[in-house]
Symmetry: C2
Subunit: 536 residues, 2 copies
């Protein structure tokens, strides 16, 4: 490239369905980019309507509104070229598209050619595949456009067909976060940039949307395949790139820090985009609720985070002291509501029906459900959103009570295995000062629903459990595979059985933030009713 180009990456956080609000943001970013001297400003995939809009895309009125606004956006942009993602209706179908805007006009439309329909993606449910490339000249340089999945084609054929001769490719994305994803993206882009001798500008969305969080971290790779620039992580950014300049980006975030920030942004956006201000969390004296509270404080501020301690006869003094210390350290309000009176009254009123039956998990679940009710009562009375505190290990095994500790609007740690919960508590939250009391991290985990209960009464130790969950839930490994990898057959069978049998609970779980390659929710769609059993 003899000539140079100043490119603005508009790494924005749109809200699904807030089409007018997103349009205003797009116009505002375009104007700022122009003032900063950019010749072109590039927005993420479906920036105008938000991603993923899911079945809103089936509403003709939603598409109409989005088409009306892409024209409105075009009319408002002058003095700079803009690439804006929107949902295009054409030739009797709907397309995941990018408008090329210049001097108040839509000069061309690129329609995504490869539609992901795996994992969390359902794009073939909504969109048709585009067939035509869109090439254009910017500052005398030949440019092409790609949308997200387009560039993940291993064969590179698509590249040749759709963007042949391009010196610069603008790849616009709504690429959901999971731990390690930035490396995957960079590897794909680096390889293609090098092979095809093309400068690639990878523009990602940022923000939380239900179970997904988009991490931003937009970047550029030069023709040699070197990453020369990277925008902010987990924040909006208007990031300038000069194709001629030699720069070196800062290294990406450390793994744990990155996961933590994904959880913070995912929570913040869920709460705020849904019109809530405050959250309430049941603090048990355990590490899951402690970490959840720390994340909530980080996301929403201590004034918007409320803790509730709900002791019973089985609650240790330790839990009481540690919860108070935690709330104090975080600077959050703490209510205490004992549950024994209500618990005794349930038992009394159920006595006739339960006559002659021994105590069992019924009474344990009942305590968890009383706590769930107390939290929901606070939610109803004060407009708080209840955060559940279960982690991926528990939710995998069904070691949680439906309508009890599973009651709430958002499940912050749903995709965080217990061993990772400990790491985040120790190495991120407590990095600078001890926010989470050490004893909370050190004591053996317990639900405190009966005397001397330990998690290990029911579950294998977490350092044995978590790798089995990763193999079975995230990687669909067979029992045979696991045994070959050294897992004890009995342990694997026990875990598999727990995972399979608790699908009905997960179906009624609140959404939570995906941070691993496969989360529960729309990422893993298992039938409740089935009799498939792994053979040993």
């Amino acid at each position: 490239m003899a000539k140079a180009m100043r490119i603005a990456i508009a790494q924005i956080n749109p809200t699904v369905g807030d089409i007018e609000g997103n349009a205003r943001k797009i116009v505002d970013y375009a104007r700022r980019a122009k003032r900063l001297g950019a010749g072109i400003v590039v927005f993420p995939e479906l920036a105008l309507c938000g991603y993923p809009p899911e079945d809103l895309l089936l509403k003709p009125s939603f598409i109409d509104e989005n088409i009306k606004n892409i024209h409105q956006v075009a009319r408002s942009i002058t003095g700079i070229t803009a690439i804006v993602g929107f949902a295009d209706r054409a030739k009797g179908g709907l397309y995941n598209a990018a408008a090329l805007i210049n001097e108040r006009k839509i000069k061309g439309i690129y329609r995504k050619m490869r539609l992901p329909n795996y994992g969390v993606f359902d794009e073939k449910r909504y969109f048709k595949e585009g067939a035509e490339p869109l090439m254009f000249k910017q500052d005398g340089i030949t440019c092409g456009i790609a949308i997200c999945e387009d560039i993940w084609a291993p064969d590179g054929l698509l590249k040749a067909r759709a963007r042949k001769g391009a010196e610069v490719v603008f790849a616009i994305n709504a690429s959901p976060y999971h731990s390690g994803k930035i490396k995957e993206r960079q590897d794909v882009v680096k390889k293609q940039a090098r092979r095809d001798k093309v400068f690639v500008v990878y523009v990602n969305m940022v923000g939380g949307q239900d179970e997904l969080v988009f991490d931003g971290q937009s970047f550029a790779a030069d023709k040699s395949g070197s990453i020369i620039a990277r925008a902010k992580a987990f924040e909006e950014d208007l990031f300038m790139i000069d194709t001629g300049a030699k720069t070196k980006p800062l290294p990406p975030l450390a793994e744990l820090e990155e996961i933590y920030r994904a959880l913070v942004l995912g929570l913040k956006d869920y709460v705020q985009k849904n019109g809530f201000k405050r959250v309430v969390i049941g603090l048990s004296g355990g590490v899951d609720s402690a970490l959840t509270a720390a994340i909530a404080k980080e996301a929403l501020g201590e004034e918007n985070t409320v803790g509730v301690f709900m002791p019973s006869v089985y609650t240790s003094q330790m839990s009481r002291i540690d919860s108070a210390e935690l709330a104090n350290g975080l600077g959050i309000k703490l209510f205490t509501i004992p549950i024994d009176n209500v618990f005794r009254m349930y038992l009394q009123d159920l006595e006739g029906v339960f006559k002659g039956r021994l105590r069992d998990s019924t009474e344990e679940n009942l305590q968890a459900r009383i706590r769930g009710n107390m939290l929901m009562a606070l939610s109803n009375k004060f407009g708080y959103l209840v955060l559940t505190t279960g982690n991926k290990s528990e939710i995998s095994c069904g070691y949680c009570t439906l309508y009890g500790d599973m009651a709430g609007g958002f499940s912050v740690l749903k995709d965080v295995p217990k061993t990772l919960v400990y790491k985040l508590a120790k190495s991120v939250v407590n990095k600078k000062r001890q926010v989470i009391p050490e004893r909370i991290i050190k004591r053996p985990p317990t639900a405190e629903l009966r005397p001397n209960q330990k998690d290990t009464d029911t579950l294998p130790p977490y350092n044995a459990l978590d790798p089995i969950i990763e193999a079975y839930v995230e990687k669909d490994r067979s029992l045979q595979d696991m045994i070959r990898k050294g897992v004890k057959k009995e342990t694997a069978l026990r875990v598999i059985s727990m995972v399979d049998k608790s699908e009905y609970k997960r179906r009624q779980a609140p959404p939570g933030i995906k941070i691993t390659p496969k989360a529960f929710g729309k990422d893993r769609r298992m039938p409740i009713t089935h009799r498939f059993i792994e053979k040993g």
Copy 2:
């Protein structure tokens, strides 16, 4: 067709993932068909692994087991040709396939060419599209195979390419029920049979699978497009067809009867395939719980249906009398567990936290949640599955309490609008004798959570509400469309707002049986977080 053929439709009810069990059933049906003189026996789509297996299809061990068993099935069948649906792994991909079996061998494999990826279907998530037709001779007659979506191609091109020259086409299906579906299927088949002068044998699955129920009602159309035979509805059937014979099938079930039987089978299979025996239902004295109890009794027997009456100070004497009369009429056991003591204790323990706040919906929800807890305690103690009783009108508007009346494993009326609840109660359940007391059907609906409460305090009258729900939820109509159709703008806006705002509740609702063209659950995939608002 000068020659004639005796065809056996094996309308079976497989269980997802019970591959060995399904294989045994397939072999058993094939042997019975042979004994009855059939030359060919035809099983439904994916009969071997069950439908839809969802993400079980992503497990290599699941596919292995299914491949192993199709060979086992083939080796066990002799003296009759069989067409058996299974998941085929070939050319690096997975296919929704049919094995043509003859004399203990798989003679050919047909792979589905058109994959549905809309509504409840996600087939492009799992399968590749087949490309090759499979034609064969049976009794000297040229036959072809189609799988479900294959025959719904409006252009008929596929028919020409895939089954050119066929005199008989075997269309194997797992076609989920909704009211009116049998007519849609017959219309498609009749048209194609007539146009292409082909005899079509439409083989459907039967049975319940999570939110879906397959209604059976397999049928055959002759070359003139006349329906000449129809197998049983909502039951397994081994149904014989002689291509030469002139027969006339019985008329299909009446609409209400058909819906009722869909609900009965959907419930029965959910309960039994998940290993439960008994269900428990909170009886309120209202029509929803009455209808749910009647369906449960029909599905599982009175000995396996338990009612619980949970009165509060707001419960009328009428509700008490009518619930007792209902239980008596159904012959089911009825527990009575008052909730006032527990309710008072919650209020007492929350007094400090709620100080200075007026009563509001918090206290109403609390009552509903106490009832939910009581039912779950019975479930935990006795192994009952809790049935929720909410109808589609309530669930659409969020007129229900999360973890309260929404607590339970299965939601029988989830897709049944309130106006249809009344019709089913009056015209099906009470058809022969008055099982549901008349007053339950006649009294104005009330949640009885505060003095003199009526549903119409919160919702429009159901006869005005239900058409709006149908337009907005099932048909994605815009506000403008509804106004054009005569709906009052204020009413429509109020309903739309309630529907949109309660998505978070539905995300945590138990599964229920789809009986309309669009149900909640995987049929309607709305984001929780979004700000799209219909404009007036």
